[in-house]
């Protein structure tokens, strides 16, 4: 069954490879500086390396699909996102795979009665505007600077060709590595808790853990996608929107990388803030949209005559269609799987303001007087609980989210095998021991489990003013929670 469920993740990976490789190698292939075969080869190798080496350390190992609480549901969500991206890839449009996944999850949210993540949805819509505009500005600036430099440096045509080609290759390789590292969790992350793989040691030199083996398979799927179907989207990016000179091709990928680095890198933000420097605001940017913006920016600097506005209009249309199509596909597919094939596509999540939950809400400084009517009542879905909550109380978004998480019923029982099944190398022995000590314990709410872990070990406690470490801890807690839940199912 694991292998069957994994196929949809791999299909999503294949679609991702076919579409998103254009973000890193599209302009190089479109400007004919690097042949498609060569680009696909380098892209494939470095996507796999990025997935296996850096994928496991990514902040969101479970990926976006982690929000889906039943494996059959995750199967459908990944499939819906994959089909959406595949469809738009056949038409040659560069679209964001992450946005397709977000759409497919909203389809699942609607089907399961879960809350729709409007914050993420808003980020998706914002990124349609922010990514291309920022990238266009940066690429225009960069292009002007490089053109000025070239005018004064008098580089021989062949040397310039060599430098540009090397630059395109290195930028492509770095982009492919990042593509693998950042997206692999979306492709196979959800399957880690149910993965049957155990560690494999290679002559004692290095060991591939279960997650890395899964990431390797996912990386291969992405690489295959690039090889078998990546050319069309690459050519749309590299020559469909506007004909590109090799230097313009390099500027476009550099501007794309720069936008992601400056406006989406938490590491950079942390670094700048820790050195008392002003940080760039973190905004939702997507590589698929940024690369299109970069190409347009250069086209505009050159006077705008070379830009094929019709193609650009179609691409923007495809961006809007991506999440919408994924929502519909996901919803319809879930309906069929649940009602025709009798598969459990979601685990109903109930909500009840228990005594413990009320105590937690009160401790957070939220008045509980409005909760009198709903106290002790069980609500079958987040949607219904929220509706009930809206009537007696006026809460801010943050307060509402706190009340919701406090009242979420989980019924977790820590099974004996859980501690042994932890194969995330980032989780320390002390943290594993803390999980072990909770064997046999029952928790009504997820936060109770987290509280118990924090009581067992210092290493399970959030640290004040340490955003990065706390994010990593949240990821680990998420991992352990899912392990406990999947062991209990």
């Amino acid at each position: 069954m694991f292998a069957f469920f994994l196929t949809s993740g791999l299909f999503l990976g294949w679609s991702l490879g076919a579409n998103d490789a254009a973000n890193v190698f599209g302009t190089a292939v479109g400007s004919r500086m690097i042949s498609f075969k060569r680009a696909a080869l380098y892209c494939g190798i470095f996507v796999i390396l990025g997935a296996v080496v850096s994928g496991a350390g990514a902040a969101k190992t479970l990926g976006e699909l982690g929000a889906v609480n039943a494996i059959a549901g995750a199967f459908v969500v990944a499939l819906a996102a994959g089909v959406t991206v595949y469809w738009l890839t056949t038409l040659g449009y560069p679209v964001s795979t992450t946005q397709a996944i977000v759409g497919a999850i909203i389809g699942w949210d609607l089907f399961a009665g879960a809350l729709i993540d409007f914050v993420t949805l808003e980020k998706v819509v914002l990124s349609w505007f922010i990514s291309p505009v920022l990238a266009a500005l940066l690429s225009a600036l960069l292009y002007k600077l490089i053109a000025y430099g070239m005018k004064h440096m008098k580089i021989n045509m062949f040397s310039l060709d060599a430098l540009t080609r090397t630059g395109l290759l290195l930028a492509g390789i770095a982009g492919a590595y990042a593509l693998g590292a950042n997206n692999i969790s979306n492709v196979v992350g959800i399957f880690i808790p149910i993965s049957p793989f155990s560690d494999i040691s290679f002559f004692g030199i290095f060991t591939l853990n279960g997650a890395q083996q899964l990431f390797f398979i996912g990386g291969v799927a992405i690489a295959l996608g690039t090889f078998t179907y990546g050319k069309k989207v690459m050519l749309t990016v590299g020559e469909g929107i506007s004909e590109m000179s090799p230097v313009a091709a390099l500027v476009a990928v550099l501007a794309n990388a720069l936008v992601l680095f400056l406006f989406a890198s938490q590491d950079l933000e942390q670094f700048l803030l820790s050195h008392g420097l002003p940080a760039f605001p973190l905004v939702p940017v997507s590589s698929s949209q940024a690369i299109v913006g970069s190409v347009i920016g250069i086209g505009l600097v050159k006077g705008g005559r070379g830009i094929r506005w019709r193609v650009l209009g179609e691409i923007i249309g495809a961006w809007v269609v991506t999440p919408i199509a994924a929502i519909f596909l996901s919803f319809i597919a879930l309906f069929f799987l649940q009602n025709v094939f009798q598969q459990k596509t979601y685990v109903p999540v109930e909500y009840r303001v228990t005594a413990a939950a009320e105590q937690r809400i009160r401790a957070a400084g939220i008045s509980v007087t409005g909760l009198a009517d709903i106290r002790g009542k069980t609500y079958p879905s987040a949607y219904q609980f929220q509706k009930a909550l809206d009537q007696p109380m006026t809460l801010t978004a943050r307060e509402k989210s706190l009340v919701m998480s406090a009242a979420e019923i989980d019924q977790l029982v820590v099974a004996i095998q859980v501690a042994n099944r932890i194969n995330d190398p980032a989780i320390t022995d002390e943290q594993k021991n803390a999980v072990q000590k909770l064997w046999g314990k029952h928790f009504m709410h997820r936060w109770e489990l987290e509280k118990a872990l924090a009581e067992q070990s210092q290493e399970w406690r959030m640290k004040p003013n340490n955003k990065k470490q706390n994010e990593e801890l949240r990821r680990k807690l998420d991992y352990v929670y899912r392990l406990i839940r999947s062991a209990g199912q």
Binding site: S31, R32, M33, K154, M157, F158, S159, A162, L163, L170
Partner: protein, 216 residues
């Protein structure tokens, strides 16, 4: 990886320079060959004939090698077609020098002493226009912004050669003592020399377009 590519490119840059050197060298040999021919020393002339033929062969080999590299290694994709045409155009000018020297050897035109200086001046202007082409080409590869500084000189020398050509033809046909066949034979050689400057100007016109294309 990067080093390998750079080394290969430096090799190609050298080849382009060497090829253009051959074009310049052929112009000088042509000028010297004409001087020797006008002096009537056909034995020495034969050595120039050999030298210019060798230069042409070297030029041909370099052009072929460059074209092979450009296509096989898929270099400068956006300018490859233009560079190929440019190399072929310059090679055609080199061939024209060789052809002229051979034509003198085969047809042995009887050039009256009073026309010697004009013939020398005409060839000198034609060679100058090709030289301006060579400098424009070098600039096209190394410093595109300075191509214009050289390209206008091609037109200048072409006009100068036109003036000398017209003057020379008038002088030839003004001579009463020469047979018409002799006059026509001489005119043929004047035209042959003048054509070098005309073709150099055509090359410069095309180069101008290549520059505009690269600037876009």
């Amino acid at each position: 990886m990067g080093d390998g590519i750079l080394k290969r490119k430096i090799g190609i840059e050298k080849e382009v320079d060497e090829f253009l050197d051959r074009v310049s060298e052929a112009g000088l040999l042509c000028k010297q060959g004409m001087d020797i021919y006008l002096k009537g020393d056909m034995e020495v002339y034969a050595t120039y004939l050999k030298s210019i033929r060798d230069t042409e062969h070297k030029g041909d080999d370099l052009r072929r090698s460059l074209e092979k590299d450009l296509y096989e290694k898929t270099l400068i994709p956006e300018s490859r077609g233009d560079v190929m045409e440019l190399l072929e155009d310059m090679d055609a000018l080199l061939d024209r020098y060789t052809g002229l020297i051979w034509q003198f050897e085969i047809e042995r035109p009887d050039i009256c002493v009073e026309f010697h200086e004009d013939f020398k001046e005409l060839l000198s202007h034609s060679v100058e226009s090709v030289e301006a082409d060579v400098r424009s080409c070098r600039a096209f590869f190394k410093d595109i912004n300075s191509v214009a500084d050289h390209i206008h000189k091609v037109s200048f020398w072409e006009k100068e050669s036109d003036k000398v050509s017209t003057r020379l033809q008038r002088a030839i046909f003004g001579r009463k003592d020469l047979h018409l066949s002799h006059k026509i034979h001489l005119r043929f050689f004047v035209k042959q020399v003048d054509r070098i400057a005309d073709e150099a100007e055509d090359v410069a016109d095309r180069l101008n377009i290549y520059v505009i294309k690269r600037m876009l």
